[in-house]
Amino acid sequence: MVNFVQTVLSGVFMGGIYAGVAVSFIVIFRSTQVFNFAQGEIVMIGGFLSWTVLAHTPLPWWFGVIVAMALSAGVGILLEKLVIRPLIGQPLFSLIMVTIALILALRGLSIMIWGALPRRFPPLFGTTALHFGPFSFSPSLFYGMIIISLLIFALWWMFGHTTRGLTMSAIAEDHQIARAMGISVKQSMSVAWAMAGALSVLAAITWLSGRSIGFLAADIGLRALPCAMLAGLESIKGALLAGIIVGICESFAIGYLDDLTAGGMSLVMPFLIMLIILLLKPEGLFGWRRIERL
C-alpha cells in the first residue's frame, strides 16, 4: 500500500514538471495559434542560461533565476521576431515545419555553445529528501510542483480576467477578427513568446536542479507534448490535470510494467495515452471544440 501511494505521489510530482512545460506550449498556442514543437529546446536553453548564470556569477540564486528568466524571455522574443512572424498567414504546414526546423537549429546551436558533455546543475532546493510519514520526495520536485501550480493558476487568472489575457484569447479565436477589434496581434505574440521563454526557465530549474544538464534535456519537450495535446491546446488549467494524469500513468509504468518490458514502457506511455484520448476526443480533454465550415 505504501508502495502504491508512493508511486501515485511521485507520478503527481513528475506530472507537475510536465505541466510546467506543457503550459508553455499552451501559452504560445493560445495567443498565436502556433504550436511550438521546439519548446523542449527552449527549456534546454533556459536550463543552460540559468546554469551559466548560477555557476559563473556570484549572484544569489533567486536573483540568478530572475536574470536567466529575463534572458530566456529575450530568446523567445528573438525567435518570434526572426522566425515565426515572417510566416504568419502561411499554411499550417509551414508553421509546423518551421518549429521542427527550430528543433534542429537550436540543438545544433546549443551543442556548439555549451558542448555535448552533461554538466552538473546546482541543487537549488537542497539535496536531502523530504519525508512525510513513510513517503519521501525529491525537494526540487516538491517545491517545483508548488511553484508550477501557483503559476498555472496565475496564468489561468491572467488569461480569463485581465485585458491583456482576454485580448490574447481573442487572437487564439481568430487573428483577423482580433485585428478588426483593435488588438495588436504582433505585440501579443511577442508577449506570449517572452512568457513561454520565462516559464521554461522555471520548468528547467525545478526539473534539473541537482541533476545533470546536457542537450538531451530537450527531450522533456517530446515527453510533455502529449500532455499539451491531452489537455487540449487552449486549456491552461487542463495542462495541470493532464500533466498529473500522464505523470501518474508513467510512474505506474515505471513501477509495474518496466520489468515486464525490459524498461522503456514508461517512455511510450505518454504517447499511448495521447493516442487513445485523441481517438476518442480529437480536441483533447478541455480544448475548444471548433466548428468547421466551408
Binding site: 515545419m97 526546423a101 534542429l104 537549429a105 551543442i111 556548439m112 555535448a116
Partner: protein
C-alpha cells in the same frame, strides 16, 4: 511549359510525360549516365549516389502524403525501419529472393502506416503531426524489445546477407547493388509521377486544399487519406529494404527521428507538392550532409577537444535547420519553383514572357 510549335493531335500525345524529341534525348542521356555510373563515378561517390536513391524513394512517398494529400508525417523513417527490418527478416528466415523481399517490406510498412492513419480520420494539423511522432517512438520501443533469438541472436537488428534475384543471379558486389537500387528508384519515380497526374493524385490535392469541400464534391476523404498513408508507407518500406541490402545490416538505431525530420526538410527545400521538388530536395540536402561528413574531421579539430564528434551532428543539425527555415521564409515553393523560373526564362529569351 512547352516550346512553341508542339501540338497535340490526339489524346495520347496530350497525356505523354515527355513530349518533345529534345526531352526524350535528355531522358536517355540521364538513363545512360546512370547505367554507366560505376564506370565513370569513383566508388566512394557511388555510395553517396546509392544513399541518395534510397532516400529519394522514401521522400517520394512522403511527397505524395505530405505534398499532395496534405497530411503531416513525422514518422517516415520509422516506416522505413519497419519495412527494412521485417522485409530483411523474412528474407533471411525463409531464404527469399530480392523481389518478394521488396514487396514484403513495402507491405509490412504499409500495414504499420495504416495503424497510424487511423487517427488521421479525425485529426488534422498539429494533432496528426503528434500521432505520427508517436509512430516513431512506438517503432523504437517495439523493435528494441524483440527477443534476440528472433533476430538471429542480436538485439534490435541483424546483418543482411547477399540475396539473389528471381532469375538466380546473386547480387554481392557493390555495383550490382547499385544497379538494383537505381532500377527500383527509376520505377518508383515513374509511379510517383503518374500518381500525381492521375485521378488519385487529383483527389489527394482536393483533400489537401479543403477536405470538407472534397467530401462535398464526392471524394471519399477517409479512403483517400488511408490510400495516401498506405502509398507513402509502401514507398518507405521498399526504401528500408534497399537500405538493408546496401548497408548489409539493419538496426533500429539507424531509423531515427532526425532522419524523419531531414526527409521533411528535403521536401521543403525541393518544393512541396512537386515530384521534381522531391528529387531536387534529396540531392540538395544529401549533398550538404555528405559535405559535412567529409569536413567532419576538420570541424572536430577546429573545436576544443571536449566537444568530440558531437560537433558533426551539431553542425549538420544547425545547417539543415537554418536552410529549412530560410527556405520556408524566402522561397516556400522550393527549388522546383526556382528551376521552373530558370527554365522558362531560358526558353523565352530574349523576351520576358
Amino acid at each position: 511549359m512547352l516550346p512553341s510549335g508542339v501540338f497535340s493531335e490526339n489524346y495520347e500525345q496530350d497525356k505523354a510525360i515527355l513530349r518533345t524529341r529534345l526531352r526524350w534525348s535528355w531522358f536517355f542521356i540521364l538513363l545512360l549516365l546512370l547505367a554507366l555510373g560505376p564506370l565513370i563515378i569513383p566508388e566512394a561517390y557511388l555510395g553517396a549516389l546509392c544513399l541518395m536513391s534510397i532516400f529519394l524513394i522514401a521522400v517520394l512517398g512522403l511527397q505524395i502524403l505530405v505534398g499532395y494529400c496534405g497530411q503531416i508525417n513525422l514518422g517516415q523513417s520509422s516506416f522505413m525501419g519497419v519495412g527494412g527490418i521485417i522485409g530483411c527478416w523474412a528474407a533471411m528466415k525463409f531464404n527469399l529472393s530480392i523481389e518478394p523481399t521488396l514487396i514484403i517490406g513495402g507491405l509490412a510498412s504499409a500495414v504499420y502506416g495504416l495503424i497510424f492513419a487511423l487517427p488521421a480520420i479525425r485529426l488534422k494539423g498539429y494533432y496528426l503531426a503528434l500521432t505520427t511522432l508517436a509512430a516513431q517512438f512506438i517503432f523504437h520501443f517495439v523493435f528494441t524489445r524483440v527477443p534476440s533469438d528472433f533476430f538471429f541472436g542480436t538485439y534490435g537488428g541483424f546483418p543482411v546477407k547477399s540475396l539473389s534475384l528471381l532469375t538466380g543471379t546473386t547480387l554481392n558486389s557493390p555495383n550490382s547493388i547499385y544497379y538494383l537500387i537505381i532500377c527500383v528508384t527509376v520505377i518508383f519515380t515513374f509511379f510517383a509521377f503518374n500518381i500525381s497526374r492521375s485521378r488519385l493524385g487529383r483527389a489527394f490535392m482536393a483533400v489537401r486544399d479543403n477536405d470538407i469541400a472534397a467530401e462535398v464534391m464526392g471524394i471519399n476523404v477517409i479512403v483517400y487519406k488511408f490510400l495516401a498513408f498506405v502509398i507513402c508507407a509502401f514507398f518507405a518500406g521498399v526504401a528500408g529494404v534497399l537500405w538493408g541490402f546496401y548497408m548489409r545490416y539493419v538496426n533500429v538505431e539507424q531509423f531515427t527521428l532526425w532522419q524523419s525530420i531531414w526527409m521533411l526538410g528535403m521536401i521543403i527545400v525541393g518544393g512541396v507538392g512537386s515530384i521534381l521538388g522531391a528529387v531536387l530536395g534529396v540531392i540538395f540536402i544529401r549533398l550538404i550532409q555528405e559535405t559535412v561528413n567529409v569536413l567532419g574531421p576538420t570541424l572536430v579539430a577546429a573545436f576544443p577537444a571536449q566537444y568530440g564528434i558531437s560537433v558533426i551532428f551539431a553542425g549538420m543539425s544547425l545547417i539543415i535547420g537554418l536552410i529549412v527555415i530560410i527556405f520556408l521564409i524566402y522561397e516556400p515553393r522550393g527549388l522546383a519553383h526556382r528551376w521552373r523560373l530558370i527554365y522558362r526564362s531560358y526558353h523565352l529569351w530574349p523576351f520576358p514572357y
